[in-house]
């Protein structure tokens, strides 16, 4: 039992940090960039993706012995798409404003490489509960990057954190200006690029795929 537990912990750590899907495997960055102008949208997106990845792992892994391997992609997509529809409807019902701001990006969770990638590489070969934990771990790892990028962009771009202004008055009086670039598309690319640089320069991190 203790062994089971440490195995799940290991899966968790791997997904959040050592094999973080965005920073280390370059997966799922499409949406990671688009929803990070504000922290609130980034957080909702991270939760939505975690829920979808966790439950798709659970469901696909429970069905893994029944799914014929030549039609597995379409089965996986059907499971994921159904979960995304549920998530989207829940968001529309309870967080209408944020769901409007996320616009099509909730729907694009379907084609997010993280979800399908975890289903393909992990859920098809592991027990349902392990896959559930793996889904949560990867969702959290994705969320970590997302919230961090959103933090930088919102702080530098509009001087807010979660919509609250944090730049002191005297600095604005002294001529402080928000960095408009961060709100626009290029800001997202720069923040992710620099983030990867910092991550690669940390001691003890192996340099993966150089090209």
């Amino acid at each position: 039992m203790a062994q089971e537990k440490s195995k799940r912990l290991d899966i968790l750590i791997r997904g959040v940090w050592t094999e973080n899907p965005v920073a280390f495997q370059v997966l799922g960055i499409c949406s990671a960039l688009a929803v990070t102008v504000k922290m609130s949208t980034a957080l909702v997106m991270a939760v939505a993706l975690t829920v979808v990845t966790a439950f798709s792992g659970l469901i696909i892994s429970s069905l893994r012995k029944q799914i014929p391997s030549n039609i597995r992609i379409i089965v996986e997509l059907a499971v994921i798409a159904s979960l995304v529809i549920i998530t989207d409807e829940v968001l529309k019902a309870f967080f209408y404003d944020i769901s409007k701001q996320l616009s099509i990006f909730v729907g694009l969770i379907i084609t997010n490489c993280i979800v399908l990638g975890r289903a393909e590489t992990f859920a098809l070969a592991n027990k349902p509960l392990d896959s559930f934990v793996d889904g949560i771990a990867n969702g959290l790892g994705y969320g970590l990057i997302l919230v961090f990028v959103a933090f930088v962009r919102e702080l530098l771009g509009s001087g807010n954190i979660f919509g609250f202004s944090v730049i002191p008055e005297f600095m604005i009086a002294a001529g402080y200006q928000n960095m408009g670039l961060m709100v626009l598309a290029p800001g997202a690319f720069f923040v992710i690029g620099l983030l990867v640089w910092v991550k690669n320069s940390l001691p003890g991190v192996s340099h993966g795929n150089k090209s």
């Binding site: 499409c30 997010n112 690029g193």
Partner: protein
């Protein structure tokens, strides 16, 4: 006609699907190492987008939109929540069909595009364009033009990226920034260049 032209220019440059909306990033990063493959994938994306977006328009407005089923005596049914699963199924089916048709009638084209077609089914740019088309209430003709324009914009971005990466090979990039990091920075600079176009009014 002028409206359609400006929509096309708009979706190629100002609202570039990749550099302004970040759609199709995964394959953008993975396939931009080589100009020939980037061009091949670019053409495949243009082709698939031009076909899937009008077909998805017909499916959405014929079956899923609120009140679309009134011909079947069900005027109050709103199936628009099913659009995600329907669109992805339509896209996968069309990609599969295109692959089979090309394989049968044009082996050289299949040799050039064949390997890319399965990749495209899960490219977020394709699904994204269909979803944008619904959200922005385009007509059938507009959505075809929007699909073609977005595809052209995507190809423009990936081919220029592949060309830049080819040059970068000879540059002295800092150790930690090599690969993915520098690609993102370059993409950011490209996005800045494309933002210049937003001053244009047609």
């Amino acid at each position: 006609m002028g409206d359609l032209f400006s929509l096309f220019i708009n979706s190629v440059f100002i609202g570039n699907i990749l550099l302004a909306y970040f759609l199709g990033m995964c394959s953008f990063i993975a396939v931009s190492k080589n100009i020939e493959t980037a061009t091949g994938l670019g053409f495949a994306v243009i082709f698939v987008l031009t076909v899937t977006s009008p077909v998805n328009w017909l499916v959405f407005h014929g079956l899923l939109a609120p009140g679309a089923l009134s011909w079947a005596g069900l005027p109050n049914v709103d199936l628009s929540f099913l659009k995600y699963i329907t669109f992805i199924a339509v896209i996968a089916a069309i990609v599969q069909a295109i692959e089979m048709v090309i394989d049968k009638y044009s082996p050289p084209l299949y040799a050039a595009l064949g390997v890319f077609l399965p990749l495209i089914a899960v490219n977020c740019a394709i699904l994204g364009v269909s979803l944008f088309m619904v959200e922005r209430n385009y007509t059938l003709v507009e959505s075809t033009v929007f699909g073609a324009g977005s595809g052209t914009g995507w190809m423009l971005a990936i081919v220029s990226m592949a060309a830049i990466r080819k040059k970068i090979r000879y540059s002295d990039v800092p150790d930690g920034l090599q690969g993915f990091g520098i690609t993102m920075i370059v993409a950011g600079l490209m996005a800045m260049t494309f933002m210049m176009f937003s001053g244009i009014t047609l």
